[in-house]
């Protein structure tokens, strides 16, 4: 005996379309389904009815590629903590629930179709400096520079960002600070990242602003929805590096 659900889904046929909420019924949903599998069921039906299936991004379906993401009942990736949409299971919903599903809302993430948004702004932030310049073959032996375990672990914590964009979707200011800060922090904590540290922070923050993301007022919504729990102190680290670089 499955669950019956009412879905209110944002449908928008291309970036020019105005878009609207459309209501669907899905019946006999198994509590063991993932949220995306539940949408698969809806889509199979829509295709057979000759309708356009609801477009949504996804790939790995195991919470690591960062491709999936939708705002479920007003919360990015839904209310389960530290969970991507693909890892959210239907057992967390009530039978006969009404579920509102919307795309990430942010001007720098224009809607492509339905729940699919364009997150290439993130790539451009990385392009601005989110790397260590090292041509293949020119690296010294990996053991030539030891790294303190605590630093390596903290760098790892920041490096686990999957670039999903939930932080932007949740931030009341539409800020990309957590994403940007995660990368800046990851590279700032490692000795290998020092030579480009200042220029990296400056360039990435400026690119983030140029893309049209809002500013951070430290509301902390981002870290609360972040599926990887990227901590807020990465933002302090970013600010620190940025202020230093701007002096």
């Amino acid at each position: 005996m499955g669950m019956n659900l009412t879905l209110k889904v944002w449908r928008q046929n291309g970036s020019e379309d105005k878009g609207r909420m459309v209501t669907y019924r899905v019946e006999d949903v198994s509590p063991d389904m993932s949220f995306l599998e539940m949408l698969d069921v809806l889509n199979e039906r829509l295709i057979l009815e000759g309708d356009d299936p609801v477009a949504f991004d996804h790939d790995c379906r195991e919470g690591i590629c960062g491709m999936c993401g939708m705002v479920i009942n007003g919360v990015a990736h839904g209310e389960q903590v530290a969970t991507t949409t693909c890892q959210l299971h239907m057992r967390h919903f009530e039978d006969n629930a009404v579920i509102t599903i919307e795309p990430w809302r942010a001007a720098p993430f224009p809607v492509v179709k339905d729940l699919v948004v364009d997150r290439s702004a993130f790539d451009r932030i990385i392009q601005a400096g989110g790397f260590i310049s090292v041509p293949a073959g020119s690296a010294p032996d990996a053991h030539s520079v030891p790294v303190k375990k605590v630093d390596a672990d903290a760098a790892f914590d920041a490096a686990t960002c999957i670039g999903c964009g939930a932080c932007v979707a949740a931030c009341p200011n539409g800020s990309a600070s957590l994403f940007t800060a995660a990368k800046i922090t990851h590279l700032s904590l490692l000795p290998q990242g020092q030579p480009e540290r200042a220029s990296r922070a400056k360039a990435m923050v400026e690119q983030m602003d140029a893309e049209g993301f809002g500013g951070c007022t430290n509301t902390g919504e981002c870290t609360a929805v972040c599926p990887k729990g990227i901590p807020l102190d990465t933002i302090a680290q970013m600010n620190r590096d940025y202020l230093k670089a701007s002096k």
Binding site: V71, N173, C216, T217, A236
Partner: protein, 211 residues
């Protein structure tokens, strides 16, 4: 934002201490008020130092508001389409969500407050009274609504600082994961002290402890 906010916080602390002198008595309070005006004498002439402070404060408030407004405008531009479902806050903390409207209330309050106690325009004791008289007149029991307004405003200030103090450290990159708990606790404590400190005076006047 953080820098201007910090200047305003420092002012508030001083201001509260000054206000509390009302408990010591009218003279002490008036002395304090006149000290404000003769500060730096004889090097500086009457009111110069105070004017400098006022100008700094004024500039800070303007800059602070300017950053607040531009942040809000950027935020608005960054999210032109709102969510249909009510966005549920996942982060805890009520104070965070009062920053903008709270700031506006504070601003309105400051304007009224200046007209009231600094210029005396809306004060029953008028411009002619001593600061102490103006103070007592303003919070007279029959003018309970003034006191109420002050109370609301001061609570807003408290909330503003509850988040703002910690937030300023974060913005300046002075915070780190380990310092979050102590910083947040300190922010809460300082805001509480300020709220209490500010509120005692009007309330004391209203219930007649200070007259």
């Amino acid at each position: 934002m953080a820098v201007t906010g910090a200047v305003l916080v420092l002012f508030l602390v001083g201001h509260m201490v000054g206000n509390l002198k009302a408990f010591i008595g009218a003279d002490s309070f008036n002395e304090y008020a006149s000290f404000l005006r003769t500060m730096g004498a004889p090097i500086l002439t009457y009111r110069v130092a105070l004017t400098i402070v006022e100008v700094v404060l004024g500039v800070c408030i303007v800059l602070h508001m300017w950053s607040a407004v531009s942040l809000a405008r950027r935020a608005g531009k960054a999210r032109p389409v709102k969510y249909a479902a009510k966005r549920k806050s996942q982060a805890n903390g009520y104070a965070v969500h009062t920053m903008r409207y709270g700031g506006v209330i504070i601003l309105l309050f400051v304007i009224y407050h200046l007209l009231d106690l600094t210029f005396g325009t809306v004060n029953p004791a008028g411009w002619d009274g001593t600061p102490y008289e103006r103070l007592v007149a303003s919070f007279a029991p029959e003018r309970w609504w003034v006191t109420l307004f002050y109370v609301v405003a001061v609570i807003m200030v408290g909330l503003h600082l509850r988040h703002g103090l910690w937030s300023a450290f974060q913005t300046l990159g002075l915070a780190s994961g380990r310092s979050y708990r102590p910083l947040k606790a300190a922010a809460a404590a300082i805001s509480a002290v300020l709220v209490l400190g500010f509120l005692t005076v009007p309330v004391a006047v209203m219930i007649g402890v200070i007259k």
